[in-house]
């Protein structure tokens, strides 16, 4: 037989041109692009190349005031008086323009955040547009969403989004807020503001009344001013549990409503009767999707001992076939870590895991010389007592633990301060129902993982936060019940 000659995929880079990123972006307040009172701008860089993409305005307290005022005015003057069906038209329009500009948004998302273009193209952008389509449909049907009750909008909502799914999280927040008749001030995460800024452009293009949606950019302090603002009726935050705690403290004793989507340490449970080949894929998808920057990532895998050895071997083989590198290449499976800081955090957890005595395995792939990259890796022989099994790493690092019985795995899966997501892999339907009833997690997937749909609610238990986004349940945090 002839010697094996390898078949490598040639580079298939997506063009940067469609992103059309400007050199500088201002704040979007009251329907206009305005220079920040602070006169300060911060750099946004491409984490895959460390090159500067653009500079973005920093909103200070005065800017936050202006934005909240604009939102209040827009609420009182137009938005709350507008018939619901008219609101829906605007939201549909946003969704359609997002679809028209999908390529621009996808390329921008990948350049700005480091996620593979395949993911931003096939997941982030279409799902974000779908959220607008979905909630547009609800706008004039709130009576059906809350039968026998009368609901009103809240007023002005402040929203703060994370850096892992920038545009999608903005959609999760803005779409239900507008559908229920609120006006919005949104602050994206500072490392990934660009697609949210482009969403503001789309909102302008859709001709929404000025001030209905305002986008203010900046770091944590900007967010703090927003949460502290007295003229805000609700805060919706997605991000770390640490910041979530600060926000909850800030809001205690005020009239402001609050929803929090925080961290997670998802338990992905593999029973011995699981469809093994598909479960391996599910585990890969559960932890390496978006470089593991996923709050609901299946970062704790529990494998039944009887199949553990085989399963781990298959998983390792599969990890070696993952393509890590340039996020703009259409064949890349795992792109760049979002920031230097996050890469440092992940690396410190890898050190901790090794020091804790767990066995470490990482892909034999090569990493690009520049940019922030991390090899997909797995810790085996992990125990509940290890920090790597307890704390959210938010990177492509998986922990594998084993179990023997159903009772044991339920106890272990629940043995976490978090409760956002879980996965169950088994051929037995009854077991799926039995286990999922007893696991305290907001989302439980059966024989799949990391599937999302606008019609399905998402949210956590315990330190993963409270409130639901998506689906019918996602409307409720944005309304108040009033006397009929």
């Amino acid at each position: 037989m002839a010697t094996i000659k390898k078949w490598e995929y040639s580079p298939a880079p997506e063009s940067k041109e469609p992103a059309a990123i400007a050199n500088r972006y201002e704040l979007f307040i009251n329907g206009k692009w305005v220079r920040p009172t602070s006169r300060n701008y911060f750099n946004s860089i491409n984490p895959a190349t460390e090159e500067k993409l653009s500079e973005i305005a920093t909103a200070n307290e005065a800017d936050v005031n202006k934005a909240v005022q604009a939102a209040r005015q827009a609420y009182d003057k137009y938005w709350k008086k507008l018939p619901a069906a008219e609101r829906a038209k605007y939201i549909f329009r946003i969704a359609r323009i997002m679809q028209e500009r999908a390529r621009e948004l996808a390329v921008t998302e990948t350049l700005d955040g480091g996620k593979p273009i395949r993911e931003s193209r096939d997941f982030d952008i279409p799902t974000a547009a779908n959220h607008f389509f979905y909630y547009a449909g609800w706008a004039d049907k709130l009576n059906f969403a809350f039968p026998n009750k009368k609901v009103n909008s809240l007023g002005v909502v402040g929203q703060i989004t994370p850096w892992n799914f920038p545009l999608l999280m903005a959609a999760w927040k803005i779409a239900p807020a507008l559908a229920t008749g609120n006006t919005v001030v949104l602050k994206p995460a500072e490392t990934t503001s660009l697609t949210t800024i482009k969403l503001a452009e789309i909102i302008q293009e859709a001709d929404l009344p000025p001030g209905v949606v305002n986008v203010i950019t900046g770091a944590g302090q900007t967010g703090a001013w927003l949460t502290q603002h007295s003229n805000i009726d609700k805060i919706a935050f997605t991000g770390s549990t640490e910041v979530g705690r600060i926000i909850q403290r800030t809001l205690a004793g005020t009239h402001k409503k609050l929803t929090l989507e925080l961290g997670g340490k998802g338990a992905n449970i593999i029973f011995e009767d699981a469809p093994i080949d598909q479960a391996v894929e599910g585990v890969i998808n559960g932890i390496f999707f978006n470089q593991g920057h996923v709050c609901c990532a299946g970062s704790r895998v529990y494998v039944q001992e009887s199949i553990a050895k085989k399963f781990v071997q298959q998983l390792k083989n599969r990890i070696n076939t993952l393509l890590v590198g340039d996020p703009m290449d259409k064949n890349t499976d795992i792109g760049a870590i979002n920031s230097a800081q996050q890469l440092k955090t992940i690396q410190s957890y890898i050190k901790i895991g090794k020091a804790e005595g767990a066995d470490f395995f990482e892909s034999d792939c090569a990493l690009p010389k520049k940019g922030f990259f991390c090899k997909p890796s797995v810790f085996t022989n992990v125990a509940q007592s290890n920090r790597i099994a307890q704390e959210e790493i938010f990177g492509p690092v998986l922990c594998i633990l084993t179990f023997r019985t159903d009772e044991e795995v339920i106890e272990k899966a629940n043995n976490s301060p978090y409760g956002l997501s879980a996965g169950i892999w088994t051929d037995k339907g009854a077991r799926i129902f039995n286990i999922s009833k007893q696991i305290r997690a907001g989302v439980i997937w059966a024989n799949t993982y990391n599937l999302f749909d606008p019609t399905s609610p998402f949210g956590g238990y315990k330190e993963s936060g409270f409130g639901r986004e998506g689906g019918l349940q996602g409307l409720q945090p944005y309304v108040q019940f009033v006397k009929p």
Binding site: K5, P11, R118, P275
Partner: protein
């Protein structure tokens, strides 16, 4: 042929379950691979070299078969450096014609056998059919399993039948057609694959081409995963042949991506992977011509034997 006839061990039926949605999700990922530039050219050449150029019709004649053999030998002489196809696949009665036409070339002659395509006959007839093909010079035999017996749960019968045909093949390589379009579920595909491999198949093959659906990406993935499991257990390789319904280069490249990412580069060789197809070759040739000359040519420039 080495070793003695294998004995049915019911343990081979204990395979892990297959989750259809997961399989489909995985195959979608293969289709998202972007194969461009040099890797596309290399891939297209590989596809050509892996084709079993097939004619399996009641109206086949010596004339038709020898013309097909000429096509196999001269795929598109205008482009130098093209590989030949792997084999010609015909009915047993046409083997000697094909053998003669391909004499001196490295193209194999494969023959279907065992009361192809339904397999509804006795073992005696099936073995005679196999010997007919082998004695006429077939290098490879494509047999069909008894789907009726399989669906009735008579796994030992199916196993023994494959083992007997394998014995009758002598040195010819045996491809076992599962006819997955009649098996109903991916779990059944996995089970049939396990049985065929344990009974001595050199290749497992999806379809006869006479039943719809024929080869699909999900079905092929499940078969590749069975091959992978067998390889990890025993260190022995088994070949794979999807057949029927693959007529476009792009789809063929997706199959290669799937083979590469499931079994590895070692399987990207005509010894271990084949396409059963009749119209695929010309589509690949048109793509190769486009890559070579920079623009698409009219189909009129490609011979259709």
């Amino acid at each position: 042929m080495t070793g003695k006839k294998p004995v049915f061990n019911p343990q081979i039926l204990n395979h892990p379950p297959v989750e259809q949605t997961g399989v489909e999700e995985r195959t979608v990922r293969f289709t998202k691979r972007s194969i461009k530039g040099p890797s596309k050219m290399q891939g297209l050449h590989m596809v050509l070299s892996m084709i079993d150029l097939t004619t399996l019709e009641g109206k086949d004649t010596p004339g038709k078969v020898s013309q097909l053999c000429t096509k196999a030998l001269h795929l598109h002489d205008q482009i130098p450096g093209l590989p030949t196809v792997a084999a010609i696949c015909v009915y047993p009665s046409m083997v000697s014609i094909a053998k003669k036409a391909l004499k001196g070339s490295r193209i194999n002659v494969a023959s279907v056998a065992t009361a192809f395509p339904s397999g509804q006959s006795s073992l005696r007839i099936k073995l005679a059919d196999t010997r007919l093909a082998v004695e006429a010079g077939a290098d490879e035999v494509d047999m069909v399993i008894s789907r009726g017996k399989f669906l009735a749960g008579e796994y030992a019968y199916v196993f023994d039948e494959i083992a007997s045909v394998k014995e009758a093949c002598g040195t010819a390589r045996l491809k076992v057609i599962l006819e997955t379009g009649e098996l109903g579920t991916l779990d059944q595909v996995r089970k049939a694959s396990s049985i065929a491999i344990a009974a001595g198949a050199d290749f497992i093959k999806t379809s006869t081409g006479k039943i719809q659906p024929a080869a699909t990406l999900p079905v092929t993935l499940v078969m590749l995963e069975t091959i992978r499991e067998h390889y990890h257990k025993t260190g022995k390789k088994v070949g794979m042949k999807p057949a029927g319904g693959i007529s476009k280069s792009k789809l063929a490249l997706h199959y290669l991506v799937m083979v590469k990412e499931t079994l590895g580069d070692a399987w990207l060789d005509k010894h271990w992977f084949r396409f059963g197809a009749s119209s695929l070759a010309n589509d690949v040739l048109m793509q190769v011509a486009k890559e070579t000359m920079g623009n698409y040519q009219s189909p009129a420039y490609f011979s259709i034997d």
